[in-house]
């Protein structure tokens, strides 16, 4: 195996897992196409690939959430002899010592961390629960791995990082020999990610094997022994990490030249939106803002950086016209907003791209055409005396489908048939068609493949060229640094002063995202036209 070429890897060379020719189809889509993968004891393998490359599907097959259409999964038993794993049975995977940390944590939030860990490990029909043994074992595990967390707190009170530690402890508590982590850093600050990597290396040194699913090259280079690259459901490359070449891996992942978005220099114009001392208190930190000042100007992209759940939702709701400030005010186009109303906002030239495009962005059973016109059906262009003008609605959709390259069976097809990337294009067609002056883009490229991602970026930059102000909320630092003119950091409902993007130090940004540095130094930012 190629990993044998890695001299720095001190493993006992014992093969732990062997995936052979795994194939899985979803309808016409081939998610996994004859994928092979080996893993040795104490080895960390990174499974690298774009969104939609088939990484998560492969791991879901390993863990028994899906059944492969073809191929075999072999796992070494305690004796080191490979034996086939029963497909479609999470219990079998658990018994074989496979633990999985999903991107969306599989935790019951109403239970304590301890409850979540022991859930399913004790005989279910018993009159009592005995926790002393579990506590002793966990105390030992925590001491040995550095995964410290209060096990008695209900999970909903824990931070994202703490929840992730609970998830890893869950696997370790079951004596996992193989740990699979699906995009573990997506929700962490750079510093938290570093500490996770340190933990993983420590665990690997004690013999744990790890598979990390990732789509970012830099972090897998930091932690893994070996890298396997997937693209379009196929394994397109595999190499030892210390022999890996950044550029060639990037090409393997994408399969073509990555179009690089370039920002032209451009002087910002008049302020388009300004938040003045806005406080929204909803009791819950992720839905609250505290004394936020913020401004975006014509021809400027203002990036909002932050770990998810720090008040981005509240900020987005406010700018989308779905919530109002408890204290403070919002000025749009120089006028104080008195009526916070999503319909009004949309009609006044605010383009709103929702964070969760499936949940908030489209009505699945309605047609593509109806979904494109949904913000404007009350306008004269699309109705007469309350009766819809289907002709006009259809015409707009036909144009939009061409202009925005929305791949769909046609304007009358139900929107639920569209892929994620095409839903996002549909939303762009809906909101950008009207040459908006302000754009709220909330996680606009999350989960999209490279093509759709660069299309979204191109459209945002184009709008900026046209003089629109863009508020870009994102958890992806690369995206923020590429697109933004200014970046502000949101942490626990506080928003920092905006800093010119080219002045920003990545690690500084990380510290601010973690709340290590004060984020609410709300001095008027440089370049504020007084």
């Amino acid at each position: 195996m190629s990993s044998a070429a890695n001299p720095s890897l001190k493993t006992s060379r014992q093969l732990l897992l062997q995936l052979a020719a795994i194939t899985k189809k979803f309808g016409p889509l081939i998610a996994n196409d004859a994928i092979d993968l080996d893993l040795h004891k104490g080895e960390i393998v990174a499974l690298l690939g774009e969104n939609g490359a088939g990484k998560t599907t492969l791991m879901n097959i390993l863990f028994g959430h899906y059944v492969a259409d073809a191929g075999t999964v072999m796992v070494a038993g305690a004796d080191g002899i490979l034996a086939p794993l029963e497909p479609g049975a999470p219990q079998a995977a658990l018994d074989a010592g496979i633990g999985m940390v999903h991107q969306h944590f599989a935790l019951a939030e109403n239970l304590s961390g301890l409850d979540n860990i022991v859930l399913g490990t004790e005989p279910i029909f018993r009159l009592r629960r005995d926790r002393t043994k579990a506590r002793t074992k966990l105390a030992k595990l925590m001491a040995g791995s550095g995964l410290n967390v209060d096990l008695n707190q209900p999970v909903h009170k824990l931070t994202v990082g703490e929840k992730q530690r609970i998830e890893i402890l869950k696997a370790l508590y079951r004596d996992a020999r193989l740990l699979v982590l699906d995009e573990p850093t997506a929700v962490l600050t750079p510093q938290e990610a570093d500490s996770l990597f340190a933990t993983l290396r420590q665990l690997a040194a004690t013999g744990l094997s790890v598979i990390i699913i990732a789509h970012k090259l830099a972090e897998v280079l930091a932690v893994s022994h070996r890298i396997a690259v997937l693209r379009g459901g196929k394994k397109v490359g595999e190499m030892a990490t210390d022999q890996a070449d950044r550029r060639s891996i990037a090409e393997l992942m994408v399969g073509r030249d990555v179009p690089v978005s370039r920002r032209s220099e451009r002087a910002p114009g008049k302020p388009v939106i300004a938040l003045r001392d806005v406080t929204i208190d909803r009791g819950d930190a992720r839905r609250s803002l505290h004394g936020v000042n913020l401004m975006a100007r014509e021809g400027e992209i203002l990036g909002i950086a932050g770990v998810s759940g720090n008040g981005q939702a509240a900020l987005a709701q406010l700018i989308a016209g779905l919530d109002r400030p408890d204290i403070g005010s919002v000025e749009i186009f120089g006028e104080k907003v008195t009526k916070f109303d999503a319909h009004q906002f949309a009609q006044n030239g605010i383009a709103r791209i929702p964070e969760d495009r499936h949940h908030d962005g489209m009505v699945g059973s309605m047609t593509v055409a109806e979904n494109i016109a949904i913000e404007d059906v009350r306008s004269r262009d699309y109705q007469k005396f309350g009766f819809l003008d289907f002709e006009a609605i259809r015409k707009r959709a036909e144009h939009a489908i061409v202009d925005y390259d929305v791949r769909c069976p046609g304007p009358d097809a139900p929107a639920r048939l569209l892929s994620g990337g095409n839903i996002q294009k549909l939303i762009l067609a809906r909101v950008l068609e009207k040459s908006p002056k302000l754009i709220l883009a909330n996680q606009p490229s999350r989960g999209l493949d490279v093509g759709a991602q660069s299309e979204v970026h191109r459209r945002l930059l184009e709008a900026r060229e046209g003089g629109a102000a863009v508020i870009l909320i994102s958890e992806d630092l690369d995206e923020l640094l590429t697109l933004s003119d200014q970046i502000a950091v949101i942490h626990a409902g506080h928003v920092s002063a905006a800093i010119a993007a080219h002045d920003i130090d990545r690690s500084e940004l990380g510290l601010m995202m973690a709340g290590q540095k004060k984020t609410d130094e709300n001095t008027p930012r440089s370049g504020d036209p007084a």
């Binding site: 497909p87 016209g321 949940h359 009505v363 059973s365 309605m366 109705q383």
Partner: protein
């Protein structure tokens, strides 16, 4: 192992055929209770069919039954479209009938072309008002409307009883708790002489067609569909979910109220607490069998009505309890639910693959 695979586009045959299949299966399943009751099965089915369709009279009876069912079916269909779980059509029906009686039994008088619209509007308004409360409690406070509308049914029946023993009591009724009769000018006239089927049927059919156009072709219908299918996306796009829900509540409650008017002013002539044998609840089944389509409601209401009328007449002839009708209706609801599942998923039976 059984697996379910989502279907992307169910065929038209599935969409329209499954409710029909569900109805047929429910009727066939009724053979089991019939057999257990010791009845001659074939004869019983024959009696049911002739009871519902055997003569002009029986068809008229069946359509008389179908009239309130179309209206309560529409009430459920429009509400369920918007995911407003209005299970209170029974109460709304009684409120509508009470309003019709309060206004239509002699307080005011006039020619029919005025009196009939007046009682219809009064009933619709009363029904609508009944549903607005629970709807606002749902949108403002998050109180589950299923439970509130269900409980209101019991409250309304008691309220009607109280009124019938009080201000609405007919002094001529010799102690029976019933209202004064609806005056002649407010009565919905029969469509055919010496038959019971009355103008209410025409009103119900008109409502069905109007509602179909409303949902499909108007801005408000568009918004109702959007809110029903994905309230979050509708809200994000700028549609007011509360306003849409209140509109739906007025339509749904109003339609159920009309069913009440139709019953007192068309079928019965006066109000008593046994006015409805559960039309409000049966309306839910009618709507589900119609897959929430307003025009489909007409067909499924005719089906449910013929089950009721047919079972009644069979029951009189061979003494099997007429609760058989309720049983068939309940089973057809469960069958159409399962059928709805089959339009969304393919069921695959597969052998556990050996893992070697």
């Amino acid at each position: 192992m059984i697996r379910f695979e989502p279907r992307t586009n169910p065929s038209a045959i599935m969409v329209y055929g499954i409710p029909v299949m569900a109805a047929i299966i429910a009727i066939l399943l009724a053979a089991i209770p019939l057999a257990l009751a010791g009845a001659p099965i074939i004869k019983a089915y024959g009696l049911m069919i002739s009871g519902a369709f055997g003569s002009m009279f029986s068809i008229s009876e069946m359509l008389t039954r179908a009239t309130p069912l179309i209206l309560t079916g529409l009430a459920a269909a429009i509400a369920f479209r918007a995911k407003l779980w209005n299970i209170g059509a029974e109460g709304q029906l009684y409120m509508g009938s009470m309003a019709a009686v309060a206004i239509g039994s002699g307080v005011i008088d006039g020619p029919s072309y005025i009196m009939i619209p007046v009682v219809l509007i009064a009933g619709a308004v009363a029904g609508a008002v009944m549903l607005i409360g629970p709807t606002l409690l749902k949108t403002r406070l998050g109180v589950d409307e299923v439970v509130t509308t269900l409980l209101l049914n019991f409250i309304v029946i008691l309220f009607v009883q109280m009124m019938l023993e009080g201000v609405l009591k007919d002094p001529m009724s010799m102690g029976w708790p019933q209202s004064e009769p609806v005056i002649d000018s407010a009565v919905l006239p029969p469509l055919i002489e010496r038959m019971r089927v009355h103008l209410g049927l025409v009103i119900a059919l008109t409502c069905a067609v109007a509602l179909a156009i409303f949902v499909k072709r108007t801005v408000w219908g568009f918004e109702i569909r959007a809110v029903g299918e994905n309230a979050a996306a509708a809200r994000f796009s700028g549609i007011s979910v509360t306003k849409t829900m209140v509109l739906v509540a007025m339509l749904s409650g109003g339609l159920a109220g009309l069913a009440g008017v139709s019953e007192v002013a068309g079928t019965r002539g006066y109000l008593a607490t046994d006015l409805s044998p559960g039309y409000g609840y049966a309306g839910i089944v009618v709507a589900m069998l119609a897959r929430l389509s307003p025009v489909g409601v007409i067909i499924s209401a005719v089906f449910v009505a013929s089950v009721f009328v047919g079972a009644d007449s069979m029951s009189r002839a061979i003494g099997v309890s007429s609760y058989l009708a309720d049983l068939i209706v309940a089973m057809s609801l469960l069958c159409v639910l399962i059928g709805g599942f089959l339009t969304r998923f393919k069921v695959r039976f597969e052998h556990q693959k050996s893992a070697g």
